[in-house]
Amino acid sequence: MNPSRKPRATEERLDEIRRTAQDAAQTPGAQGLGAAQSPSSSSPAQTKESYYGLPVLKKPVWTWEVPLYFFLGGIAGVSACIGFAAQLFHGDPTLIRTALWMGLIGAAVCPVLLIADLGRPSRFLNMLRVFKLRSPMSMGAWILVAFSGCIFLAVSSHELILHGFTSPRWIYLRWIGELTAAITGLLLASYTGVLIGATAIPVWSQNREILPPHFLTSGLGSSSGILELLGFMVPATQILGFVASGLETILGIFLEVRERPIDGPLQHGKSGWTLRIAGVVEGPASLLLRLFLGGRPGGRCAAAVCFIAGALLSRYGWIWAGVASAQDPHALFQLQHKT
């Protein structure tokens, strides 16, 4: 029979399945079958710890677009914040304009990455069916929408003012746009830490307080690094570069010296080494370059490149750590026995 035309199971069919099971299924364990005859009698003890060492949890199904989105969203969000702060303290007008545009470009690219990751991309608007405070994914969708609107307002009013529309109304709108873009931008750059922190994946959930500041710092250093690479060698980008790489150095040391079984994926294997290399590059390497060669544009650019590369790599490292963590039933059981 053609399987595609097979009729749906009926009540009679379910009865038939039960009768077949009753008639045919034996319980070999009940009579006579010795341990030596069973397929895995050589290592039955392993079932005491977990079920054949199989994962309890399902691993994240997110594709390469998601860590890239975390990275770009962080840059876009912090860029808007930099644009606002520079405007507030009368910074370089070109820097303000560039930072705002970085936010807008990020806001345009991010949804594309997110939609590409969906199993049903055509249904991306379903994300906006509900507003759910208890779902970081729902909040994230709304934060991205809000940020896109705010940064669009900021950039468009900024451009209009530059092109001669200098009435107070436009200046007022620009301030509203820049302020709201800075606020929603900071949410965009930090909520991704909540997104993976508030899950069942142990290595993420047990680092939920570290992830948001870590992701924000990554966004900060990357955003100011890009501005440096674009030629804005102002003191502010130097200071922000020092702050970001300094904080990442402290975090790297903390993750390295802390010993919890649940953090295994942060220290060992593919994810552990990715995070370690990323941490060294965006932390001490970038910091030392800036410290000793920061007086020259070339040194500052090298420090910026290091930080940006490390920040991008670390997003992949964290996702891979989640994959490894989901596949380790023993660390999960150990964690749940302690609490």
Partner: protein, 267 residues
């Protein structure tokens, strides 16, 4: 925790009581589930793990019979007295948690609580974002790669609506899978554990974590020994329990960062 909409509907809350001590490992539940729900085939492989070639629940496996082989010495389930060895079977299924991680995480509202108290994924709404997959503390729901959407046990919502028992329960030849009223089955589970303990199964217990943030299950189990042996987490937490501390951290660090950036430009 139950939302107001489901409270107003006066339908009884239903449950599964799955009893490992009377399961014969026939897998009729797996077959019935696949046929009734038209769940696609998801790989035919030899695992080498006892007679379990299904391995785990997944997007296309909504009932999964576990085959445990343990070095044990007591009870009639022991085969071969010279080399004592205990064989246990358990039909695992979605737990339909009282506080369900997948339902809380779903950003589209695709995952809902039904009038029977079960957790149901509406396939016409799900857009396959995958957030429920990492939000289930039991590793039940998964994304079907050939389809793109997330799937799990529906608790035979269609059959329950028509007043029928779920396909797996109907096909079970030993009543290892019992379906019925939530509170009645909770009582029956307790009685069953007491009876087993009276008969010498000291390690008989009910698996229904009510003291954690999951707040109890609508599909609970009678098992022998530690839950870990069945890959059942001993103290599962619904991920929403982590929301407060994570958001506080995000907001505090965002405010600090705004201050740092402003200071850098004020300098």
């Amino acid at each position: 925790m139950t939302d107001a909409a489901t409270e107003t509907v006066s339908v009884r809350k239903t449950a599964f009581l799955t009893d490992a001590t009377i399961c014969i490992g026939c897998k009729a539940c797996e077959v019935a589930c696949k046929e009734w729900n038209e769940v696609p085939e998801d790989g035919l492989v030899w695992s080498g793990m006892s007679y379990d070639n299904t391995r785990s629940l997944g997007a296309s496996t909504w009932r999964h019979v576990l085959f445990l082989e343990e070095l044990q010495v007591a009870g009639p389930q022991v085969a071969d007295t010279e080399d004592p060895f205990r064989w246990i079977f358990l039909s695992d299924v979605c737990k339909h948690c009282a506080n369900a991680g997948c339902l809380e995480a779903c950003p589209t509202g695709s995952i809902v609580r039904t009038e029977f108290g079960s957790v149901f994924v509406q396939p016409d709404v799900c857009n396959g974002c995958g957030y429920c997959v990492v939000s289930c503390p039991f590793g039940v729901i998964d994304k079907r790669s050939t389809d793109g959407r997330a799937f799990k046990c529906t608790f035979c919502y269609d059959r329950q609506k028509a007043g029928l028992a779920p396909a797996c329960a109907k096909a079970c030849p030993t009543q290892s899978i019992q379906f019925g009223d939530l509170e009645t089955l909770r009582e029956r589970g307790k009685e069953r554990v007491q009876e087993l303990q009276r008969r010498g199964y000291q390690d008989a217990r009910i698996y229904d974590p009510q003291e954690t943030s999951v707040g109890g299950l609508h599909a609970f189990f009678v098992i022998l020994g530690e839950p870990e042996a069945y890959n059942l987490p001993p103290a599962p937490e619904v991920p929403t329990a982590y929301l407060k501390s994570a958001w506080i951290s995000a907001l505090v660090s965002a405010v600090v960062l705004l201050g740092v950036v402003c200071a850098a430009f004020a300098f």
